[in-house]
Symmetry: C2
Subunit: 250 residues, 2 copies
Amino acid sequence: MRIVILGSGNVAFHLAKAFCEKKIPVLQIFGRNETALKEMLEKFNIPYSIKELSEADLYIIAVNDDAIAGISKTIISENALVAHTSGSLPKEILEGNYRKASFYPLQTFSKSKDLTYADIPFFVEADDEKDLDLLKDLASKISENVMISDYEKRKYIHLTAVFACNFVNHLFARAKEISDSQNIPFGYFLPLIDETVQKINEIEPRSAQTGPAVRNDQRVLKLHEALITNEEHLKIYKTMNESIKKMYEL
Amino acid sequence: MRIVILGSGNVAFHLAKAFCEKKIPVLQIFGRNETALKEMLEKFNIPYSIKELSEADLYIIAVNDDAIAGISKTIISENALVAHTSGSLPKEILEGNYRKASFYPLQTFSKSKDLTYADIPFFVEADDEKDLDLLKDLASKISENVMISDYEKRKYIHLTAVFACNFVNHLFARAKEISDSQNIPFGYFLPLIDETVQKINEIEPRSAQTGPAVRNDQRVLKLHEALITNEEHLKIYKTMNESIKKMYEL
């Protein structure tokens, strides 16, 4: 099977790397950012082009959501299967006379951060059974966790991920602003953060809740509000505490 | 040194367990909840009382913030050092004619969840050098990470921990409500959550931010807002995204 990856960002990089590790040949990486493409050529020995898209059996479009439709038009082969990697778009966003599919890895990707691909859940979608099997087989070579999911389900998976990953990371960033402001090394908090996550592997997050809001500890809540000087911090502080109180009917 | 722990909750339990593991003798655990005290007697072989507080050299008060002042009055010995384990109270909350101190472990404790005590940062505070050394030595037997911290610093440590732990856990609980509503197993998200945390051990959280808000992806933000049916979820969604946009000046 001739595979082409379109894109040169974080997702394209990690797909290329995962395929390379599993010795799955990739015919070409097609993109605009030649520096990034050269890096992938060097690292994973995959040819690239910024001009001519090779003919292939499977095209995987791993670009930002708003670039998917545009780049999908450059694929003219009618015999191909074309999949995008977005969690928040239907496969019908793809514009062309080919078979449309979705190949969605549920993970947060940064080029500089290594990943264990076997752990990453992959959600695949295609119109016919044969294409679905093809995508499932391909994903299964990388990951131990491959599932079928249509767009209706995928968009909720993506929304859940925004709460559980993107917002969580932002809380870390805001927390670090507070500790930085007092010259407290953020490293002090890493064991606590690690434990917070380890806990929910064993306990329901609802049952694992600790802190002043779930104790309805008005003194500490007021103390913290008085300590906070940043308006955004205060908004987060109040919103999260209100939500905690509502969840536990306090 | 004769050590007495006051309390029978999560912090008292884990302190007793840590002392037991390191073969640091504890003379008594004093508390109200006899079931919990009996459990600690059985598990850690530490005598308990619900009526008579033994005379000791060091009393560690590991109870909820609002119970500290009350229980501190039961200590009548003037020769003792008395420390509480709260992150959000000064040592002066303690009411008695003894030497006052703080012994604050930065961690989230649940009885049912085992911990690696060596990783837990301990922050200690006392009025004189000798007491400070005593608390540092004691904490160092449990943890590799012992620091001195006065109340001014400690309350910011606690505030940071609320953002980085309590609020993060609440996001997990809210995320699970979304995935539950669509019959999506929350286990799918554990590798993503794990990676979100692993990442900030290597990259600044500010630089690790991903998701629709930091891309200023209006389509996905609107899609998600339309998917959300729970009012509290929507408030969190909007507050967090606004804060992300402010941080990156979008």
